[in-house]
Structures are given as C-alpha cells and as structure tokens.
Symmetry: C2
Subunit: 421 residues, 2 copies
Amino acid sequence: MNMDLVSEMLELGRRAKTAARELARLPSERKNAGLLAMADALASHHDAILAANALDVEAASAAGLSVAMIDRLWLDEKRLAGMAEGIRAVAALDDPVGQTLRQWTRPNGLRFNKVRVPIGVVGIIYESRPNVTSDAAVLCTKTGNAAILRGGSESLRSNVAIANALRDGAARSGLPADCILLIPHADREAVRLLAEMDRYVDLIVPRGGTALIETVVRHARMPVIKHYHGVCILYVDRAADLEMAERILLNAKCQRPGVCNAVETLLVHREVAGAFLPRAAEILRAAGVELHGDETVRQILGDGVVPATEEDWTTEWLDLKLAVRVVDGLADAINHVETYGSHHSDAIVTADEASAERFLNEVDSATVYWNASTRFTDGGEFGFGAEIGISTDKLHARGPMALEELTTYKYVIRGTGQVRE
Amino acid sequence: MNMDLVSEMLELGRRAKTAARELARLPSERKNAGLLAMADALASHHDAILAANALDVEAASAAGLSVAMIDRLWLDEKRLAGMAEGIRAVAALDDPVGQTLRQWTRPNGLRFNKVRVPIGVVGIIYESRPNVTSDAAVLCTKTGNAAILRGGSESLRSNVAIANALRDGAARSGLPADCILLIPHADREAVRLLAEMDRYVDLIVPRGGTALIETVVRHARMPVIKHYHGVCILYVDRAADLEMAERILLNAKCQRPGVCNAVETLLVHREVAGAFLPRAAEILRAAGVELHGDETVRQILGDGVVPATEEDWTTEWLDLKLAVRVVDGLADAINHVETYGSHHSDAIVTADEASAERFLNEVDSATVYWNASTRFTDGGEFGFGAEIGISTDKLHARGPMALEELTTYKYVIRGTGQVRE
C-alpha cells in the first residue's frame, strides 16, 4: 500500500468534512454568492485553464487518442464561457436545503418536522469531459455538500486548473475553499481509498465504465449511486400507431446513439411485425443502423440482418446498432424487459390504454414511457434545471439525479419537556 | 467455499426475485388478505412453533445463556397471540405503494408521475427475538417486497417454524409463498453470500452487533441500511429549566437503558453545572446509574465518579452508566456531539429559542430534540404505525424506518408521440 497516498487521501477527507460542516450552516444567499464568484473565477483563471488544457490536448494527441476523444477534452473561450454560464444558472435555481418535507404534531404535543439537509461529503468519480469538474462541483456547493472529485486521467491538468479556479472563487466569497477538492492522481488506487473512507465520505457517485464502477462497488463502505449503463428497450405493441412508432424509434435510436437513454433493443408484436419491420428497417438503414434480429425478424427482413445472439439482448451498443425481436404479446414483451433490460428507460408505443397501463405498472425501471421517446430521461427534460447524471440504482436517487437527490433529511422535534411513558 | 451453500443461496435469491415480481403487481386488498391469512396461520401452526421454540429454549439453557437472553427467546400463547395481533395491525395500515409523490406536465405535453413502488427483494439480518421474523416479514409483504430473513442462531428452530407458518398463510391466500424466505443456517458465510447477491437482492438491512454489521458492510454490493448503535447525547444548556432537564435525563437514561435511543452522554453548560450536577447525580444514583465524569464533573460531585476516558465519549453503554462532561457553551456542546456522537438522536434542554434552533440546525443527526427525551425515536412514537427499526444511515432511510422507507419510486411518463428535438 502506498502510505503517502493513504495519508494524502485521509487528509482530503478530513478537510472535506470540515468544509461540509461549515457549508451546511450557510443560507442560500451565501452559497449563491459563492457560485457567482466561482463563475467569475473561471474568467479570471482563463489563461491558466486554457494553458493546462493545451497540455492535456497535446498529450492526448501524442498518445494517439481519437479526434472525437480530443474534441471532448478540448476547451476554448466559448466552452469556458459556457461552463461559467452553467454555474450562474445553478445559482438561480431554488435551494432544496431547509425545505420542510412534512410536519405534524403528536397527541403528546411533540411537533415533528422532516426537513431537507445536505448529505455531507460527496465523492464523484467521472471519466468524461473537463466541464464535469465544474458542473458536479457546483451542484454540490448549491446543496451544501463538500465535493471530492476524481476525473479522467487524460484531463487531469485541466481538471486541476478548473478546481483551482472554483476554490479561489469560493474563498474570495467567504465559502470554505475545501468545499471543492480534486484528487490530483490518475491511478485507480485513489478510487479504492476514497471508497473505503466511510468515516469522511457520505456518498460516492461513480459515472463511467464497467471497470471503474466495479472497483467502487467492490470497495465502497458508504452508499454508492451508480451511473451505469442503459439497455433501453422500445416495445411496439399490436395496437401501436405505426407512424408514431417509427418516429419514436428513429429518435430514440439515432438522435444521439452514444448516450445511456438511447434505445438498444426493439421489440415488435408478432401481429404487426410484417407491417412495421420493413418500414422501420428502411428508415433505420437510411440512418446507418445495423440490425441484429431474431429468426422471425430475419424471415421478414431477409438478408442484411445480423443473427442476434443471446448476448445482444443485454448489450448497450452506444452505437448505430439495434437488437430486434418479435414477441408474442404484451406479457412476452414485459418478460423480455425484466429479463434482459437494465431498468433505466423503457417505452411502449400503443393506442390501447389498458396495455399501456400494464406495461407502465409491471416494468420495474427508473423511467417508463407510453408513446414517447426514451431520450427524455434527462434532468433538463424532466424540468429539474440541472443534473449530476442518471442514477441506475434503485434507492435514494433513481433516474435523473438533480439538486433534491443531493440532499437527505433529518427529523427536528420540538417539545415542552415530554418524556416517554 | 461451500458450493452447496452457494447454490442454495442463489436458489433462494432466484425464488425471492420471482416472488417479488408477482407481489409487486398485487393490489393492497390482496396483500392485506395475505397478511390476515398469515396471522391465522400463526394460530394453526401454534403447536409446531411452540415445540420448536421449546427446543431452542432447552438448547439455550444447556448452553448456559442468561435468564434475560432466554426470556427474549421464549414464546408462549400470549406472545404468539401478540405476533398475530401485530400482523393484523399492519394489515390495517395504509399501503404506500402506488401513491403519487409528485405529478407535473412539461411544455411539450409529456405528463410525469413520480410514484411509490416496492424495492424488490429485501434481505433482513437480525440477532434478536423470534418475533422479529414475523414483524420484519409482514412489513415487507405489506409493501410488496419479498423478504429474505436471517435470524439469530439461538432462535433458528423457532424462526423456521414461524416462517413456515407465514409462508403457509401466504400460499393459502394466493400470495407467492416465496415472498417470505428464511435462511436456515446460522453461520456467517450465509450472510456474506447474501451480501454479494446484488443480482437478486435490492437492499440489505442488518440489525445487530458490530461484527455482523462489519461483515455486511465489507461484502455488500447492494445498498445497505444499517441499524447500528446510538451514542445519544443530552445537552443541558445554561438557559435550561433544570427541573425539566432532570425529568428528561432520568427518562432518557433509565426508562429502558438497553435500547439505541437511550442517552449515553450528558453535557452540561459550565454556568449551571454547579446547580444541576448534584441534583442530577442524586436521582441518577438512586436509579443505580454509574457516572463517568471529566475533571470538572469530579470536582463538583466528589468521590464516586469514575474518571472518564476518551473512549467513554464514544461508548454505547446500553446499561445504567453515563458519561458526563461540562462544556463551555453551545458551540462546545455541538462540537462534542459532532465529534463523538453517532448521529442517532441528540437533545438540547433550554428555554432559549435561539440556542435551541442553532443546536437543531447544526447537529447533523437523524433526529434532534428540543426539550424532549431521545426515547421518542421510534416508529410508533413518530406515528408511523410500525417500524422495521431505526436506521443509523443517512440515505434513503434515516431514523425510524417504516412502510414508506420500504418503498422506492419510479417515473411514469405518458406522451402522445413526443420525440426529443
């Protein structure tokens, strides 16, 4: 074990816990002033951030990363201004902390208040673009939580520069700078240590690939809210408006195939398979989608359909590929979703309300849709104003995770000397 | 690894998952009819349960367990009737499943419904009395969850007999018998396996001692809601009504010292220590309480006070013992609570509203009290009708965990063909 790293991580934990206690006491106005100062600091640290980013981009080019990857990494004036605008938008949102969730009085006169409070210290692990450093940090500050961030190795220099700017903005406005801490190490050992620090870290949110999530799940001693994969399924029922089904399918599969709420499997009721599949295949192929079909699908569509394997039904393609199966009816469709799906976002297209309601009731997913695209699973589309991501877990946060999900509650009980009989 | 046990546990998991899917679809009336049938089955299985219990009691006597332990284990007509009554009371409660938590419509016409749904399969691990088998199982059935139970080794025969009765009642009323499954093994290996079965188990609730909780936390891959210890703290402020403080202290320490919401540490403001400590010590000593005090406490109270060690401030005595410290003021008291407390239930006694509000705001515990005994931290006293226990965790369930906390939510979204722009 690397004892220097251990003591460095423990020190980060202690500093975060101290900052969280201070932050939890501050009124919304103070936190919002801090957020605006952070947005300003991104501008005043402009040169340092872009210089650090240039080094990351240079290293990524030298390492032969793809153009798409480098584009994700790249920061410029416009993107930096976008990050600052994002912070100002979060400052303008309502603060859930302090809200009364329920209040009641017992016959003995005790007055109960269930109130929203910050969670404390939130560890966020991500692999994507440097703007996540800012987005994730400010959502935590807004809700009175200290954040310990750990971004991807390829954007480490950019992340450090962005975190420095945010910390500077926080300190200038009188917030504890340690409300935002970034782990300046790229190795996985730091993730394992963070996951074991339940004395200091109240929640850990991993967003990323299978190996990262597995490391966190295996080691975590505190609650974990995974942002994992979406094997989203669209079921076209016997009673579907086929023109509507076509539009929803095209949107759910092709509008942005690389995201977790894109559809990966299409189920079609046997009675409309002959009518629906050829027209669906035509528009999908025109959009460049490769189809993996079961035997019936291949009989209907002929050549050009890859035979679907068992593994295809659980595959998150994140690509212009689609697994297609013909089912015998609603029960068969629900069974498929429950057996192979990832319980992220699943949809039925049908004009039959009874079938729709049964699907909505029996499919145990974070979000279930009737006659709409799965692509709406998103904090912004839900009207939440911002999101930390899409939780694929079942407890505390399920589906889009926004400001409310970054809080918990406590019971405040006011009495006049009551004792228990 | 014991492969027979592994395959047996996996089979339990599969059966529970299947039962959970079936149970989740049933309306409240069907679940309540099942609960009433379970209550009746406790009566019809009366002889088998009492015979199994007699064997447990005999083995416990032979093993030299204390009279108190044997009394906890013991079942008779009256206690069995009490268990059945408890089930009927749960049947009469409102079912949280299906409740709409929030609904809204977006500008694009999508209608959102956030609804309560069962969690799925809940693993409950406990070490206490055999009636917990029935109490925990029926709260899960009520909320549409399948339960996998694992009780203490000394009550294994009784637990098996009770679970058999409940399963029989469930089956007779048409519920899946596998909605209640009991692990018929006393070894810790079964707990470890259960904690690793995140494919089948959605939540694990350990109620018990440090070693048991540690096993679960170390191995769990799914959310854990610990029912751990309570180092509850009472702070008597400068502005306290000392007569009220005395009554609350006596109640919180002595009414039932062996439970998690009993007070373990007393903090007294320096300015009232001379007036309060002698009278408090007198009534506590009359009740048989041993005091562990800091230097100031010992100066005031003289002989007979055990010098408090650093460890005493984090000790859950569960006994007629109390750690006592004099503090310099409110900030010092809050600091002590945040440093040494277990964030379970903490109380301030004061007539000064500003001090009370600051304590209620800054103490980050599941339940915080002003002028009332910590003994009220209990599902029944909160008015929840029933409880699975007191969560010492911060997320999903904090404090008394009742029916609502045995549910989660999903988003049901109804559209008319909407696609994302």
